[in-house]
């Protein structure tokens, strides 16, 4: 149908167009000021769903970073303690060699034996190393990793561990053991490093010259501790590698989130400018169209 055009229809359509322009300008302005393309789920339902998933991933990633930092600290503590243990065992082995190498008088033997006792105490201290209140060789158990019962002769040493490893999750599929089992590092029962050193001290005090069995026993502990140093080192490097991966992943996730959520500032500024021009044009047209009527041209 041929439309009849009246002042009312012109006025209404002008108003509607101005509204439309202004609404677009407001939407662009909102996007520009918030910096976000998606402010409600309906703006882009698929994008919103991705966004929620990526934010959860970011949060998980941050948690993995915390876990890895914690694991790093545990493994560093274990490593330090293993190094000190190795040093103690080597010193004890030297003492054993010295005790077996020549005739020593009773005072010298007592001095050597006391030194061996000091090494044993040192090892006991290392076995009960703590990190942030947790005994790193006690696994998931509470309390000291090893307790010495000195009422018996020789003293007996009891491990307080269930054998359950302490683990940290450092990635979606990566779990790392961050402790070392004290019983297998230091040995248990008569073969434990402490019992071996007690036996060594007793032998030295008793004046025995044959230290071979003691040296062998210390060597056994040394090689066991060395194995653990290697294993802890390997796991430590795994955690460090995981930290690198997590840092990379954090950057990637931020990029993805930004790709979905953030506005392209250059584009939005251009759009806002274009919109402004359109709005001013609409205003100008309204001013021109709405003003004149036939009455202006009649006397």
């Amino acid at each position: 149908m041929v439309s009849r055009v009246t002042h009312t229809t012109v006025q209404r359509s002008t108003l509607a167009n101005l509204q439309l322009n202004l609404a677009t300008a407001a939407r662009l302005q909102q996007q520009m000021s918030s910096g976000r393309r998606i402010s409600t789920a309906s703006d882009d339902p698929a994008g919103a769903s991705d966004l929620l998933r990526l934010r959860a991933d970011q949060r998980n990633n941050a948690q993995y970073v915390r876990n890895a930092a914690d694991g790093d600290a545990w493994l560093a503590t274990v490593d330090d303690s293993l190094q000190a243990t190795l040093l103690g065992l080597r010193q004890a082995r030297d003492l054993a060699v010295r005790a077996g190498s020549g005739a020593l008088n009773a005072d010298a033997r007592e001095a050597l034996a006391a030194e061996v006792d000091a090494r044993r105490d040192e090892l006991l201290q290392q076995a009960n190393t703590t990190y942030s209140g947790r005994h790193v060789f006690a696994g998931t158990s509470a309390g000291p990793a090893v307790t010495a019962d000195t009422t018996t002769t020789p003293p007996t040493y009891t491990w307080n561990s269930t054998g359950a490893p302490v683990t940290r999750q450092v990635g979606p599929q990566a779990t790392v053991q961050v402790d070392a089992d004290g019983a297998s590092v230091f040995g248990a029962g008569a073969g434990s490093a402490f019992a071996v050193l007690d036996a060594l001290a007793a032998s030295i005090r008793a004046g025995s010259n044959d230290m071979t069995s003691h040296i062998d026993a210390i060597d056994t502990r040394l090689s066991a501790a060395l194995e653990h140093v290697a294993s802890v080192g390997a796991r430590h490097s795994q955690v460090l590698a995981a930290q690198d991966t997590l840092a990379d992943r954090s950057v990637t996730l931020t990029q993805h989130v930004s790709g979905i959520e953030d506005v392209d500032l250059a584009e939005i500024i251009l759009q806002v400018q274009a919109q402004e021009v359109a709005y001013q044009g609409a205003l100008g047209a309204a001013a021109k169209v709405l003003q004149p009527s036939l009455l202006d041209f009649l006397r």
């Binding site: 769903s49 929620l52 999750q169």
Partner: protein, 472 residues
């Protein structure tokens, strides 16, 4: 032919042009009146007085002009188009508004909503797994559990509040429908009376049309013009107004959100026959009813509440299933981490069952006091494909899709309504230029008629005063 018949002809023109100018004045006065339909004076020529006979002196020329009444230049088809479009647009707008409001209350993804709280909860479990010897981590975890529960309470309460508001609005709108229907009936009566006595009731018709359009936008009403000029208004095929008699509608059904979630619908019924639903098929009230419907019938708010309940149940079930396998540092078996308040919907009744940090069961039995393996497994729920997070993302995405679709449908309907309205207006609205031209035409005709009168007067003057005075 009478000597003075020309004077009569000129007089009829003077009167007619003045009447036409009055109509123009009325049009211009109401140029900006909402609902006003332009009018035009119909002029018709008066035929010559009698059939020529032998001694008749008539010359067969007509006797001037007269008004054949004012015409209201409305178009019932364009009006009907506007009504259908406005019923449809109001229906979709009500749905779109409800969707947008619900989406705002969910707040995702702009604001940190439930997804953020859930992420915090899983991070809390991971911290407990790391620091299973520290009560602080456990205390933080309990608070985060409470935060998730509170988040769900808020979501559910928002949906409930929105439902109550929508119902209150429905009642108010139905009241408005009843008032408008009564007004239409009154106007029908008045208009018939005025037209029977030969008057013109165009202005009242304008008011009636406005009310009928309002009824269309409220309850999707349609109208039917009777032979006597009265308008019947129909809702869902039944008459709301017949002649000067109006029926009333009433709101019936569920009065509380509890009833609605239990499956009871809110309906609009006839006040005289409370068992008969009005069967609305358009309009804002119908849109609100579809929002208020039970979940089984696709109700938006009850559906949202059902989803919140499902999420709450999912969270409690999955966390409890793992937590009950764990033991506390003192070796006690872990009970339920989350529990539900009896007699409440799941989303509203979800609470943390534990009251003390020491009750958190983070370790597996027989694995040492500081074992955190169970807590670590619970922390993994956040990334599980069937975990609560994945479900919640589904809910948000679904709501987003529905809202986007409701909004775009509403926009299309609004565009159609705007087009229908502009067609109606382009036909019915007053054009000042046109009225100015009409005024010019009537003014000139009036001047012409006056000049005719002067000419006849001078002619008669010649005949009466100057006849027979030859040589004087």
């Amino acid at each position: 032919m009478s000597t003075f018949s020309g004077v009569g002809t000129a007089l009829s023109s003077l009167i007619a042009q003045r009447q036409a100018l009055d109509v123009s004045a009325q049009n211009i006065a109401n140029a900006n009146t909402v609902g006003y339909t332009r009018q035009r004076l119909n002029l018709t020529s008066i035929a010559s007085q009698s059939v020529p006979s032998m001694f008749a002196t008539t010359d067969g020329v007509g006797q001037g002009t007269r008004s054949a009444g004012t015409m209201r230049l409305g178009d019932v088809f364009l009006d009907a188009k506007v009504r259908v479009a406005s019923g449809n647009a109001a229906f979709l707008a009500a749905r779109a508004q409800a969707h947008a409001a619900l989406e705002t209350s969910v707040g995702e993804p702009a604001a940190p909503g439930l997804s953020g709280l859930l992420s915090d909860l899983w991070a809390g479990w991971a911290d407990v797994a790391n620091g299973s010897d520290r009560d602080a981590a456990r205390a933080v975890l309990l608070e985060r559990g409470n935060a998730v529960a509170t988040g769900l309470h808020t979501l559910y309460a928002d949906a409930r509040t929105q439902w109550q508001q929508a119902r209150t609005t429905t009642v108010a709108l139905v009241d408005r429908v009843n008032t408008a229907a009564t007004s239409v009936a009154d106007l029908n009566e008045k208009i018939l009376a005025i037209e029977n006595s030969g008057g013109s009731a165009h202005e009242l018709s304008d008011q009636r049309d406005l009310l009928v359009t309002e009824l269309a936008s409220l309850v999707g009403a349609t109208s039917r013009v009777r032979e006597n000029g009265q308008v019947d208004v129909l809702v869902g095929g039944n008459t709301l107004v017949t002649g000067d008699d109006a029926s009333a509608l009433a709101v019936s059904g569920a009065t509380s959100f509890v009833q609605a979630t239990a499956g009871e619908a809110v309906t609009v019924v006839w006040a005289r026959l409370p068992d008969h639903p009005a069967g609305l098929d358009g309009g804002r009230v119908a849109g609100l009813l579809s929002v208020l419907a039970p979940a089984g019938d696709g109700g938006l708010l009850t559906g949202a509440a059902a989803r919140y309940d499902a999420i709450a149940t999912e969270i409690a079930t999955q966390v409890n299933a793992l937590h009950t396998t764990g033991v506390t540092p003192t070796g006690a078996a872990g009970g339920d981490f989350f529990t539900f308040t009896a007699g409440q919907p799941a989303a509203l009744g979800l609470t943390v069952a534990l009251t003390q940090a020491g009750q958190v069961a983070a370790g597996a039995p027989g694995q040492g006091e500081y074992d955190g393996s169970v807590a670590a497994r619970i922390a993994q729920l956040g990334t599980a494909a069937t975990g609560p997070d994945a479900r919640w993302r589904g809910v948000v995405a679904d709501l987003g899709v529905q809202t986007a679709s409701a909004t775009s449908r509403s926009k299309v309907a609004a565009t159609m309504l705007a087009s229908a309205e502009s067609q109606q207006l382009s036909n019915a609205s007053v054009d000042i230029d046109e009225e100015t031209v009409n005024m010019l035409a009537y003014q000139r005709a009036y001047e012409g008629a006056a000049r005719v009168l002067t000419a006849i007067d001078e002619m008669l003057d010649t005949l009466i005063n100057r006849t027979g005075i030859v040589g004087r």
